[in-house]
């Protein structure tokens, strides 16, 4: 290894004990708001559409209920008992309570409480992947055999704002465990963060603020590019060593552009690129793409996952699929099953379901 690579290699995050994904599960609500509906209301149908449609939660759904279903799917694939889980961490920017954790509700619902670590994580759209990095470490250090990390959101955009076209609902749960029981091994992770004010929401504010000129180059592209390039240089891999790649997907344009800049082909990113059909699921966006890839991947395939969270930062993962994928992936619904379960709604129904109507 050259001195340059040695220096970079120290930047990789790698557990002492080999860790992998033993179970995974996705969730997407059934309702879809076509972007054309938003354009019809706010621009006489004149706007360029960033996605085809986005997923919308039902009246009785929130990040807790959606996390519970994803967690149950992950448990079905992991084939472990709930008592074996030693952590449940939920990353989101739309936790149902301002104060009271989502993770304890999920732990109780799947029968994993009370002998368990639980906590809620926040970092805009990378809250899910930061919980995943921590879960890899929790298992990798030997503190626990199994830990669950979830990234789930029911994002809201201000009515008429550009974000209203894309702010969707959905996410995924992953259970990490010892590599020998895994359906995919986590080779290493790498994280890159800077203090960048591209997008934020102050306490008690319903909708986020975003600095239009900040959200592209200095935020999304800079962080994802640094994270992906550093991980590849330090691990002496190149885009062709990966069968698939998935990047945070706030719209269709950004992930396709960053993939091309990094040297990935359309074929490598196609299976994980779901934003056109379900919208931007924020903390769930990169990782629900990973579930769709695991649904079709073959043993030996290497996958690059790079999230992005405003504020700002990226977590990158290099993951290699094992033989266990063949039978485990069939133990729970596939991500495409949730995408196919599609009930289109109009803007009026959307307004009702998203609590934009005042009843009293």
């Amino acid at each position: 290894m050259s001195p340059m690579n040695e220096e970079h290699n120290n930047l990789l995050l790698k557990p002492n004990r080999a860790v992998g994904i033993v179970g995974y599960g996705a969730y997407v609500p059934q309702y879809r708001l076509p972007a054309a509906e938003v354009a019809r209301i706010w621009t006489n149908g004149q706007a360029a559409l960033p996605v085809k449609e986005k997923s919308v939660p039902g009246l009785d759904e929130d990040v807790a209920t959606m996390s519970i279903e994803a967690a149950r799917n992950a448990m079905k694939r992991a084939q472990i008992s709930p008592e074996q889980l030693r952590a449940i961490w939920v990353g989101s920017e739309s936790h149902p309570y301002a104060v009271k954790p989502t993770s304890t509700i999920v732990a109780e619902a799947i029968g994993a409480a009370p002998h368990i670590q639980a906590g809620d994580w926040e970092f805009a759209c990378k809250a899910g992947t930061e919980a995943m990095v921590a879960a890899v470490a929790f298992v990798g250090s030997g503190m626990a055999d199994y830990a669950m990390a979830i990234g789930m959101d029911t994002a809201q955009g201000r009515p008429g704002d550009a974000l209203e076209y894309t702010a969707g609902a959905g996410g995924a749960a992953f259970i990490f465990g010892p590599a020998q029981f895994s359906l995919a091994i986590v080779e290493y992770t790498y994280s890159y963060v800077t203090d960048t004010p591209d997008f934020f929401r102050r306490q008690y504010q319903k909708y986020p603020e975003h600095a239009q000129r900040f959200t592209g180059d200095p935020a999304y592209f800079k962080h994802i590019t640094h994270a992906a390039q550093t991980l590849m240089e330090a691990s002496e891999t190149k885009p062709s060593d990966y069968r698939y790649a998935v990047f945070h997907q706030p719209n269709l344009k950004f992930p396709q552009k960053v993939a091309a800049q990094l040297g990935f082909t359309r074929e490598q990113i196609a299976p994980g690129l779901l934003v056109g059909e379900i919208g931007n699921t924020y903390a769930g966006a990169a990782i629900i793409g990973l579930t769709a890839i695991l649904d079709i991947a073959e043993p030996g395939d290497r996958i690059l996952v790079v999230s992005f969270g405003s504020g700002a930062g990226s977590d990158a993962f290099s993951i290699v699929v094992t033989e266990a994928i063949r039978e485990r992936r069939n133990l729970a619904p596939k991500t495409k099953d949730y995408i196919a379960r599609r009930v289109p709604i109009d803007y009026a129904q959307y307004v009702r379901q998203r609590g934009k109507l005042t009843m009293k």
Binding site: G58, D60, D62, T65, I68, K334, D337, A340, M359
Partner: protein
């Protein structure tokens, strides 16, 4: 405020946890500690599969206090595959598509909010049409 009652019932409500009778293998829901089949003690916790079918149903247009924001919704008597019958809301389904004998599966959803938007969110089981798998 009914926080203590919601807290006591959370296990059976979130996950459809009932009891199994060690004497005659009957499954009980809701848990009642005495087997209705053989009359003996039945206190073994039992996690129901969540699968069942619609036995009968009715659609609610004028809901009781606390449920206004969900109307109209359908309430069904669901026969669980393990035997017991439970009353629950159906979700992710249009009331005109509900049929007797329709296979359903348990999901955990918001039931209502205790009081106004400052109150506790009550979660519990509902049933939806079985998700189609490829």
């Amino acid at each position: 405020m009914e926080v203590p009652r919601h807290w006591r019932l959370r296990k059976q409500r979130y996950g459809l946890v009932g009891e199994a009778c060690p004497h005659c293998e009957s499954k009980l829901f809701p848990p009642r500690d005495v087997c209705p089949e053989c009359g003996k003690d039945a206190r073994e916790p039992y996690q129901f599969s969540g699968r069942g079918e619609v036995y009968s149903f009715t659609t609610v247009y004028e809901p009781p206090t606390g449920f206004e924001e969900y109307a109209p919704y359908t309430v069904a008597l669901v026969k669980l595959e393990e035997g017991p019958m439970v009353t629950a809301q159906l979700t992710d389904v249009n009331s005109k598509d509900v049929k007797i004998g329709m296979p359903v599966e348990m999901v955990t959803r918001k039931i209502r909010t205790d009081g106004d938007e400052r109150g506790m969110i009550i979660y519990g089981y509902k049933f939806r049409p079985v998700l189609q798998k490829s």
